[in-house]
């Protein structure tokens, strides 16, 4: 076995997290730079992974496999297909921006110099890196149990990030803010734990099934998929459906899918913008990714069986999320509901079971990550300036801070998936992919486009245009650091919107494999057009 | 010795049966006593009895060493320890058996009975044959036998229990030993403390004084005719034996005095025609005097009975 590249990608931030946490209290800035350096190094490694990955090659590459818990056939198995590569790249790409954007979020409040033992800043960045490590592992894990462990472990650092480093701009007084924050954090934790425990039951059930039929039980994704393909592992219909539900529930909570979404607005609203980005752009992607890799890979028949319901839920999420976004008064909650709507699109694409749908869904994960990061971070900068999350407190920002407004607008346009920006590509693919198999669903989903335009533009109009509102007059424009966060993201949005081919080339083969798992092929056009 | 050796043999003689039934009853009674006696001293004594009975049973079952140990260690050391602690805590305190925790008693009885019945039932359908007897086990002597296996098979357990004992001893010392860490206050400091706390500085005033008689249980009257708490000792106050006479007519006082003297068994002469005058109120007073006198040391109780006899004599004499 060659150099364990994937392990390295995951281990680097993990070590970095420990190191950052160990920085003495006085050297706050050093911790920040360390965190930034580590995240950048991780990005480099991830880039190496992306280049070493050969789209034409076999399905899982850069595989590593070691025994972990021999008694239960639990193995430390890593390996990436195109989807995994794309998402690992996304994660590694976003973290530096998250770190940079959160540069001052964990500083001690003015005047209060924390004592030697209490090191919030170090903790903040260490937790972010820890999350990165866990997310990367779960994107790379091809062993169900390994995946589960990190899928759940992720909650711990996230819990502290949400509960410990809330949005200072958020609420009137600190006490009430803290209450809101801990409420959000606990809600996040319990919600996801509940889903995760159901999944644990399903994981054990899966082990039982394999142990029952294959002699000794295994958690290895590849092994199970091959066994199913070769017919030496056959699940009873009900067993498979139950296991599928167990897995799907956990992912639907994480994703989040209507009606399991209510933790997201609280979590995103109360946490700082970078953490909110971490939640919606990185952590939640694990849910959709896992639907694609585990639900479809392990339980093809059950997936086919559940498709109508899942599609319905996805459609509800799309429309519902958009409508609620329109109704929001709080900028961050608005973005949160917008994300719910977008996750609806992702799930829709996944379960449309067409190459366009699933390819689109994968691109969507990446693009949504970038676009939401851009929008949310700019919103965060805006909020940190005015000290309020309420849309009503703004107005005319465009006049005093044109660059901020411009970037905000671009982020918003990406969110409403304007052609030329990355999300359009994925959203249209999802729509087309859905339409080819389920025209009605495709049409319903299309209305999400209009609603998206509505909430984005209403938000932009209320905050940025019109006469300059009170408290906005002195608002400074984007600073160097903030520009350094936003500009690359926007450049990326445009690049992926105009020339997404490199990404699609990586993703397509993986999608083909997934489709072959569920024994689906794209429906043929009724008229073979003259080419 | 031989007899008991036989008794420890496989067969059980009728003698042992008799012994069992008698002593067993005693043991059960003792156990019940332990649980039910109001005063813990009594419980302790009952327990000691039970333990002795058990010691006998041990001997009867050929566990000579244990029997002795039972008597020496348990009935001797442990029970003594109990008694010491009882003394520390206070012997006279008789705790009421009134249940304070809701439903506790019912639950306890229920569980206890259930458990007992199940146990008995279990033993009942357990196939207990006859005694194998300890003849060959005790062949080289019971103590030797025990020693052998203790120092061979059970040596580790033995060592550990030894360590446990030492630890326990140390623990007991640590727990009970109280070391004065701070310096004791000098008299001056105490005085200053009193002043600071605004306590009553001069000596306490004397109790109420009357022409004919003075009593510690009668509070002194303040200029405005009300009584002063300070003049009566703390104990009486807490016992509620203070007699507030500030509002009583002198005649009542006279009756009162007489009653008291009668109770204290002094000169009948003063007791003439006591019941005639005063009437009901006397009775009341008498009653509360009795109340006052009652429920302290049994001695008081006793000579109170004596008084009653005295009364009866007097009725007869008339």
């Amino acid at each position: 076995m060659s150099f364990p590249l994937l392990t390295a990608v995951a281990a680097l931030p993990a070590i970095g997290a420990v190191a950052t946490a160990a920085v003495p209290a006085a050297r706050r800035t050093a911790a920040k730079w360390l965190a930034l350096a580590v995240s950048l190094a991780t990005l480099v490694l991830a880039a190496v992974v992306a280049f070493r990955f050969d789209p034409g090659g076999d399905r899982y590459q850069l595989t590593e496999s070691h025994t972990w818990i021999a008694d239960f056939g639990v193995r430390y198995e890593l390996g990436v297909d195109g989807i995994g590569v794309a998402l690992i790249a996304l994660t590694a790409l976003l973290i530096p921006f998250v770190v940079l954007a959160g540069w001052h979020d964990a500083d001690p409040l003015e005047g209060t110099e924390p004592d030697r033992r209490w090191r919030p800043t170090q903790g903040f960045f260490a937790l972010i890196l820890a999350v990165e490590a866990m997310v990367i592992i779960s994107f790379a894990a091809t062993d169900v149990f390994l995946f589960y462990v990190f899928f759940e472990a992720m909650l711990i650092p996230m819990y502290f990030l949400i509960g410990g480093f809330g949005d200072r701009a958020g609420a009137r007084d600190e006490g009430e803010a803290a209450k809101q924050r801990s409420y959000a954090a606990v809600k996040f934790l319990l919600y996801n734990l509940a889903g995760g425990l159901v999944m644990l039951a399903a994981v054990i059930g899966l082990y039982a099934v394999t142990a029952d039929q294959l002699g000794e039980g295994t958690f290895s994704l590849q092994a199970i998929v091959e066994a199913r393909a070769s017919g030496e592992l056959t699940m009873a219909q009900n067993t498979e459906r139950l296991l599928f539900l167990g897995f799907f529930l956990a992912f639907a909570v994480k994703a989040p899918l209507w009606p399991l979404h209510t933790w997201l607005p609280n979590a995103m609203g109360e946490s700082t913008a970078p953490v909110a980005v971490l939640i919606t752009a990185v952590v939640d992607k694990v849910g959709t990714f896992a639907m694609l890799r585990f639900c479809l890979g392990l339980f093809p028949e059950a997936s086919a069986w559940a498709t109508p319901v899942v599609l319905a839920l996805a459609l509800v999420s799309i429309v519902y999320g958009a409508l609620l976004a329109i109704g929001q008064r709080d900028i961050k909650r608005l973005i949160a509901y917008a994300s719910i709507s977008h996750f609806g699109f992702i799930v829709l694409g996944i379960f449309a079971m067409t190459s366009q749908g699933q390819g689109g869904a994968t691109l969507y994960m990446v693009n949504h990550g970038i676009s939401t990061a851009a929008l949310m971070l700019v919103a965060g900068f805006l909020i940190s300036r005015r000290g309020s999350r309420l849309i009503a407190d703004y107005g005319g920002v465009q006049k005093v801070a044109p660059v901020l407004a411009g970037t905000f607008l671009i982020g918003g346009l990406a969110t409403l998936s304007l052609p030329g920006l990355a999300p359009f590509v994925s959203e249209f693919l999802v729509l087309v992919g859905t339409f080819t198999r389920y025209p009605a669903a495709g049409i319903v989903a299309t209305f999400g486009i209009v609603l998206a335009a509505l909430y984005v533009l209403v938000l932009y109009q209320r905050t940025m245009t019109g006469p300059v509102g009170p408290g906005v007059e002195r608002m400074p424009d984007l600073r160097k650091r903030e520009l350094a966060v936003v500009a690359p993201l926007i450049a990326l949005l445009i690049l992926l919107g105009v020339f997404p081919k490199p990404l699609t080339d990586i993703v397509n083969p993986a999608v083909e494999h997934t489709l072959s798992d569920v024994q689906k092929t794209d429906p043929d056009p009724e008229v073979e057009a003259a080419k | 010795m031989n007899g008991t050796l036989l008794a420890a043999a496989s067969t059980t003689s009728t003698g042992e049966a008799v012994q069992f039934w008698i002593l067993g009853t005693v043991a059960v009674l003792g156990a019940l006593g332990t649980v039910l006696m109001r005063r813990s001293v009594h419980s302790a004594l009952c327990l000691a009895g039970t333990m002795i009975v058990l010691a006998v049973f041990y001997l009867a079952n050929g566990a000579y060493f244990l029997g002795i140990v039972q008597i020496v260690v348990y009935t001797g050391a442990v029970m003594m320890l109990f008694l010491f602690v009882l003394m520390l805590v206070g012997v006279t305190a008789a705790d009421s058996l009134k249940e304070t925790i809701k439903g506790q008693r019912w639950m306890a009885v229920l569980c206890g009975l259930g458990f007992g019945i199940l146990l008995v039932g279990g033993i009942g359908n357990a196939s207990v044959g006859t005694f194998t007897g300890l003849a060959e086990a005790n062949a080289g002597g019971n103590v030797q036998g025990l020693a052998r296996s203790i120092f061979t098979d059970y040596v580790f357990a033995f060592e550990i229990t030894g360590a446990l004992l030492v630890t326990a001893a140390v623990a007991a010392m640590v727990l009970t030993h109280r070391e004065r860490t701070e310096r004791r206050d000098t008299q001056r400091e105490l005085a200053e403390k009193r002043v600071r706390e605004g306590k009553h500085l001069p000596p306490l005033p004397a109790p109420g004084v009357y022409a004919r008689h003075n009593a510690v249980d009668i509070p002194g009257l303040l200029p405005d005719g009300t009584t002063s708490e300070l003049t009566v000792s703390e104990t009486l106050r807490s016992r509620g034996q203070v007699r507030d006479v500030s509002s009583k007519a002198l005649s009542d006082l006279a009756a009162l005095e007489r009653r008291t003297e009668e109770y204290l068994g002094r000169g009948e002469s003063t007791a003439r025609g006591g019941p005639d005058e005063g009437g009901g109120r006397d009775v009341r007073d008498a009653a509360d005097v009795r109340k006052d006198v009652s429920d302290d040391s049994p001695a008081v109780g006793r000579d109170r009975d004596a008084d009653r006899d005295g009364d009866r004599d007097r009725e007869a004499a008339k």
């Binding site: - | 059960v28 332990t34 079952n61 025990l146 727990l175």
Partner: protein, 99 residues
């Protein structure tokens, strides 16, 4: 006489001791009841050892005694300290285990 009687007796004593633990408030009496239970157990052990004709039962009974002695020492010490601090030997007064 049927040796099972000893076991019955042991069971009876044990149960009485148990209910004593449950019913009495005075820590010392509770302790005595515990001792009672231990003794009951010992009786059973001794009877067993005679039943099976080997000394293991007695040895275990012996260990039980030792442990019981240690336990009594510590327990009583605790009772004394508690009594010192709160002038009562009632187990209900020490009801701090409540949430």
């Amino acid at each position: 006489m049927n040796p099972v009687n000893y076991l019955y007796l042991a069971a009876l004593l044990f149960t009485i001791g148990a209910s004593g633990v449950l019913l009495r408030r005075n820590a010392i009496v509770v302790f005595m009841s515990v001792e009672l239970m231990l003794n009951a157990a010992n009786l059973a052990l001794v009877a067993f050892s005679r039943l099976h004709g080997n000394l293991d039962g007695q040895i275990i009974a012996f260990f039980t005694m030792v442990v019981a002695a240690a336990e009594v020492v510590v327990g009583l010490a605790i009772i004394v300290t508690i009594f010192r601090s709160r002038h009562s030997a009632s187990v209900d007064d020490a009801s701090l285990m409540k949430l």
